[in-house]
Assembly symmetry: C2
Homo-oligomer: 336 residues x 2
């Protein structure tokens, strides 16, 4: 009998998640019923939004329940099937959770098209990550050639794509990242025009120097003082895109909002939020564009694959918040 | 020789402005040169934005300089003229400042059209106040019939107009005001559906009760905890219009921003700022509409006229911040 090891939420974390917040459980691998199939997990996506799913408060998705398998986007291979479309051997993308095997009826499942990209790309540049960057920048940021575009967490999964797409759009791109190594990376490897280190003092002034005509598009992944500094440097008619707030996800007390929000008035600017799921009907077109740019080497899709088992989930998750990783962070549970 | 008494900024206020922040000066009334005219002040507009003009920081207008006449919109009568368009006896609207007489070359001056409204209406419903309400609500709030519209400082000059225009647009309107008297006023006199008292505890819950389907349009004049409570109650696709932040204008230390701004993401909402001056080319059309609605008694234009001299400016200004006045606050310096 094959066992399915899963990672379940044992209790809601206070601040940074710890090992005791999770329960690692083994149960028999499920069998597919009619119209169902079983996916063997290969790659697990790690995303800052996961932290939000652990808190018991209303959001765009219900919180993960106590005792439930942790929600996660994964890529896996169908190993048993009674489904007309997803046959054994299919490689698929879905919200299968942090477990070795998942049962599915195909709802919300995408076939991985190897002509477009590798399985890991389906979690990164062709997955929610790349699509979030694409729709957030294009639909809300509305970049025009010549605009100054600033993106925070510039070396991260979403930020690295946003900056490159802004360059493709003819914009001047400034990345905000933590430390000289990441700053060098976004300029040298990703082709950003300038990088600004948010760990150095005087972020607001550093942004002012990097953006003498102000910021036309600010794409925010971090919140907190970085968002506030960007709001202090807006150009007239600026668009501020709220994509995430990773600096706040593990806060144990309410964090202050951006006190410079009145710049929206002075600069006649707009700050909007979005969720990539709203654009699901346009995913296919966007994936093709992103894949084409990657194939043409106009877009690089940085990723960090960490080898391990599902039980390593919490350790790998924490790398998102320590600011160590570059590009898309993936837990690779393939053996051999 | 006729003297011109003016109120000049003696020093920058710390917090609430006090008498010693001003210098009341008398000098000879100016004579018009070629292409100039002299306006005798009748009515002086009191606006929350005035407080911002006193701080030495970059904004949409340069700060009032030390020793300069205090900037103010006024209505007055031309008493001497060498100007081809503005002859003696013309009643005009302009940024003539807190003084008895002003010299002008006609730049930025509007003729008061008595067919549209009274002189005081040109500072209120037909002036920057009413136009701010009109363009902020219509252009940024984009109200649709059936929407739930919430406005703060609902008994104030701008808020009272915003709520009435939202009713005219077929919306359900909730006003936020301070105290039971003002709350009764916005419902009984202005026709709002519900009033919520921000001074009572539990504002966020009170708004949730008043807006069971969430807030589609939030028009903010106050900032601070009221803005934050509204952000916690947005409907999907909500529009948040930032018009002012009167709760913060006299703060002596930086005030926290709205910590609930991440609702913009969860609710796919937009928060934008604007300045009425951007719509100057559309003023004429808007004034006609507003005047028509007033004439048809579909729109009431509450105003509070305080009799006095220009030297009373600071005392009257403070009424804006004490939350005592209702509707447009005007210092009436006409004699007799």
């Amino acid at each position: 009998m094959t066992l399915n090891t899963s990672v379940r939420l044992a209790r809601r974390p206070a601040g940074m998640p710890v090992a005791d917040d999770w329960l690692v459980e083994a149960a028999p691998m499920p069998d597919p019923g009619p119209g169902q199939f079983v996916v063997k997990t290969q790659l697990i996506s790690l995303d800052p939004a996961m932290r939000g799913w652990l808190d018991d408060r209303p959001s765009y998705l219900p919180p993960v329940g106590i005792g439930d398998v942790m929600r996660a986007m994964t890529v896996g291979e169908v190993v048993a099937s009674e489904h007309h479309r997803f046959g054994v051997g299919s490689v698929v993308l879905g919200t299968f959770g942090v477990q070795e095997y998942a049962l599915s009826d195909g709802d919300g499942v995408t076939m991985v098209d190897s002509r477009l990209g590798t399985p890991s790309m389906y979690l990164g540049i062709l997955g929610t990550t790349g699509l979030t960057a694409y729709f957030g920048l294009m639909e809300l940021g509305k970049p025009r050639a010549g605009d100054t575009v600033v993106v925070s967490a510039a070396a991260g999964a979403v930020g690295s794509v946003v900056g490159q797409l802004a360059k493709l759009s003819g914009c001047r791109v400034i990345g905000i990242a933590g430390g000289s190594e990441k700053c060098a990376y976004v300029v040298d490897e990703l082709g950003f025009d300038i990088a600004v280190d948010y760990k150095a003092p005087g972020l607001r002034n550093a942004l002012a120097q990097a953006c003498p005509d102000g910021i036309d598009v600010y794409f925010d992944n971090v919140g907190g003082p970085v968002l506030n500094a960007a709001l202090g440097n807006l150009a007239m008619g600026a668009r501020v895109v709220i994509c995430g707030a990773i600096s706040q996800y593990n806060a144990e007390a309410p964090t202050p909002g951006p006190s410079n929000y009145m710049s929206l008035l002075v600069r006649r600017a707009t700050m909007s939020g979005f969720l990539v799921f709203d654009y699901v009907n346009e995913y296919r077109v966007a994936r093709k564009r992103l894949a084409r740019w990657v194939a043409d080497e106009r877009l690089s899709a940085p990723e960090t694959l960490v080898k391990g088992t599902v039980a390593d989930f919490n350790d790998v998750l924490l790398r998102l918040f320590s600011g160590d990783n570059v590009g898309k962070l993936i837990l690779d549970v393939r053996t051999g």
